[in-house]
C-alpha cells in the first residue's frame, strides 16, 4: 500500500472512531463503578506534551464537571500512582487536608475512600484509573480484579491516543486532498443499502479513472 492510500485509509478510520473509543472509556468507568458499588469512577490520561493529567472519562459524581480538567502529572495521589506505577488504596482520603481541598475545589465532592491503579501498556504509563467510595469489602483479590480491569482500560486509552495522533497527523498535513478523501470515506461509512452500493460503484469508477 502506498503512503497516500494508507493515509486515506487511516483518515477514514479516524473520523469515525474517536467517538467510539470515548464511549469505550466511558463504559469502562461505568462498569468499574458498578463492579465495586462505588460512588464514582474516573480515568485520567497523561498528556505528555504538557506533562499533565487530564480527566477523560468520569462516571457518577463529577461526571458533568470534570472532563477536560487538568492537574500536574507528579503531584497528589494520582501523580504518585502514575510516576511510581504502584496501585494505591486509601480508606479515608478526607483525613488528608491538602488532597481533600484540591478535590473539593474541582468537584465540590470529597471522597472518603479511593482505589487508584496505573494504566500500563508495555513500557508506558498512560494514565490512572480511580474508583471512589466503593461499598464492597476490600481484599487483595479486589485489587487484582482492579488490576485486570486497568489492563483493559489501558488498551482502550492506547486506541484513543493512536486515533488522536492519526487525526493530528492528518490535520498537520494540511492538504485538502487527504481531508476530502477522509470525508468521503466517512460519508460512505455512514450509508446503507442501495445508496452505499451506488457510492461504492462511483468510487470504484473514480479509482479506474484516476489509475495511471
Amino acid at each position: 500500500m502506498d503512503k497516500e492510500t494508507f493515509r486515506s485509509a487511516v483518515a477514514a478510520g479516524v473520523f469515525a472512531s474517536e467517538e467510539a473509543h470515548r464511549s469505550l472509556l466511558q463504559s469502562i468507568v461505568e462498569v468499574a463503578r458498578a463492579m465495586f458499588a462505588a460512588r464514582a469512577s474516573s480515568i485520567v490520561l497523561l498528556d505528555e506534551a504538557s506533562d499533565e493529567l487530564v480527566f477523560e472519562a468520569v462516571a457518577g459524581e463529577g461526571s458533568d464537571t470534570l472532563i477536560g480538567t487538568r492537574f500536574p502529572s507528579s503531584k497528589g495521589i494520582s501523580g504518585w500512582v502514575l510516576v511510581t506505577r504502584q496501585p494505591l488504596v486509601i480508606e479515608d482520603v478526607s483525613a488528608d487536608p491538602r488532597h481533600a481541598r484540591d478535590v473539593a475545589e474541582g468537584t465540590g465532592y470529597v471522597p472518603k475512600g479511593l482505589m487508584t491503579v496505573p494504566l500500563l501498556l508495555e513500557e508506558r504509563a498512560l494514565g490512572v484509573l480511580s474508583v471512589l467510595d466503593r461499598q464492597t469489602q476490600f481484599t487483595l483479590e479486589e485489587m487484582d480484579l482492579l488490576g485486570l480491569f486497568a489492563n483493559q482500560a489501558a488498551i482502550a486509552l492506547d486506541l484513543l491516543q493512536r486515533t488522536r495522533r492519526a487525526r493530528s497527523a492528518l490535520d498537520e498535513d494540511g492538504s485538502e486532498d487527504v481531508a476530502v478523501v477522509a470525508r468521503l470515506a466517512a460519508a460512505l461509512d455512514g450509508l446503507e443499502g442501495p445508496k452505499r452500493e451506488a457510492g461504492l460503484r462511483l468510487l470504484s469508477a473514480l479509482e479506474d479513472v484516476l489509475a495511471t
Binding site: L46, E48, D51, P72, S73, S74, K75, G76, I77, G79, W80, L82, V83, T84, R85, Q86, P87, L88, V89, I90, E91, D92, V93, A95, D96, P97, R98, H99, V117, P118, L120, E122, E123, R124, A125, F138, T139, L140, M143, D144, G147, A150, N151
Partner: protein, 281 residues
C-alpha cells in the same frame, strides 16, 4: 554473637577473582550460628539504633509526630549532563506516601536514622532519570537500607538500575523494593540483588512470609495499614508500597543489632525468621 566476614585483601595490584590456597585462612568466618536463627537472636532488644534508612519517595513531612526527626532531607534533580543534584528539600512531601513509609519504618525501628531523598515532583517525563539519579546519590551516601516503594516500566533504565542494584549490594546497602502485582515488566524489584516485597492481609506488622516461588521474595503487611500522612495526620492505606517499609524497618532492627551483616546474610536472616519458616511452630 556476631557473624563476621573478613574479605581477603590481595597483595597483588589486580583483584583476585579466584581463591588461592594461602587465602583460605583469610576468609574464615565465625561459625557459631545458633542452632536455629530466631527472631530473638535477629532483632530482639534492637530499636534500629545505629542503622541508617533512606526513604526514596515523594519526600517526608518534617516533624510529623509519627516520623520524628530526620537525619536529613534532599530533593534530587538532574543537573548538567544528567548529573544528580541533591539540594536541601524545603517542600516536604508532595503526596503523603513518603511520610507514610517513613512512619512505618519508625514504628518498627523507633531509633533508626531516617533520611528523605525526594525523587518525585519533576513531572512524569523526568521521573525515570530522576529516580536513577536519586538512587545513585543515595547509594553514594552509604545508607544501610534504601526503601523504594516505586518502580519503572521503561526497559531503557533496566540496565543502569541493575548495575546500581549490584553496586548497592556489594557496598552493603540493602535495597528494599515494592513488587508489582500487575501484568507488566517493571524494575528494580525483579533483580535478585534487591529484597522484593508484596502484601499479605494479616494485621501483625512483624508477620512476614518468605515466598518459595520468586521473583517476589517476601510478603509483609500491606492491607489496611494506619499510616502517617500529610498535615500531621494519619490515614488507612493498602498496597505493596506499604508492605515494603515493614521489611525495611525489620532490616533496620536486624542491622542495628548485627551491623556486620552483608545484604546476602541479611536476606538469609529474613528467610530464617520468616513467619512460614522459623517463627511459627
Amino acid at each position: 554473637m556476631a557473624i563476621e566476614a573478613h574479605a581477603h585483601e590481595p597483595s597483588a595490584p589486580v583483584p583476585a577473582w579466584s581463591l588461592s590456597p594461602d587465602a583460605v585462612e583469610g576468609i574464615q568466618l565465625a561459625g557459631e550460628w545458633p542452632e536455629r536463627v530466631t527472631r530473638e537472636w535477629a532483632w530482639e532488644g534492637s530499636s534500629g539504633a545505629g542503622a541508617r534508612v533512606c526513604i526514596l519517595d515523594s519526600g517526608v513531612e518534617p516533624s510529623h509526630p509519627l516520623v520524628g526527626p530526620l537525619e536529613g532531607a534532599v530533593a534530587v534533580s538532574l543537573g548538567e549532563n544528567d548529573a544528580p543534584v541533591a539540594e536541601d528539600d524545603a517542600e516536604g512531601d508532595l503526596c503523603g506516601h513518603g511520610t507514610a513509609c517513613a512512619g512505618i519504618v519508625r514504628s518498627i525501628a523507633p531509633d533508626c536514622s531516617l533520611f528523605s531523598v525526594r525523587v518525585l515532583g519533576a513531572g512524569y517525563t523526568g521521573s525515570g532519570p530522576t529516580l536513577l539519579a536519586g538512587l545513585r546519590w543515595a547509594i553514594d551516601q552509604g545508607f544501610d537500607v534504601i526503601n523504594m516503594s516505586l518502580s519503572t516500566t521503561k526497559s531503557q533504565f533496566a540496565g543502569v538500575l541493575h548495575e546500581l542494584a549490584d553496586t548497592a549490594y556489594f557496598r552493603r546497602t540493602v535495597l528494599v523494593a515494592s513488587a508489582h502485582n500487575m501484568p507488566v515488566e517493571s524494575y528494580p524489584w525483579r533483580f535478585s540483588a534487591v529484597i522484593s516485597v508484596g502484601s499479605h492481609q494479616e494485621s501483625d506488622p512483624l508477620t512476614f512470609f518468605y515466598n518459595p516461588a520468586p521473583p517476589v521474595e517476601f510478603f509483609a503487611r500491606g492491607v489496611s495499614v494506619d499510616v502517617a500522612w500529610l498535615g500531621g495526620g494519619q490515614i488507612r492505606c493498602t498496597g505493596n508500597s506499604f508492605a515494603t517499609p515493614h521489611i525495611s524497618g525489620i532490616c533496620a532492627r536486624i542491622l542495628g543489632k548485627h551491623p556486620e551483616l552483608t545484604p546476602f546474610q541479611l536476606k538469609s536472616v529474613l528467610y530464617l525468621t520468616a513467619t512460614n519458616v522459623g517463627a511459627r511452630p
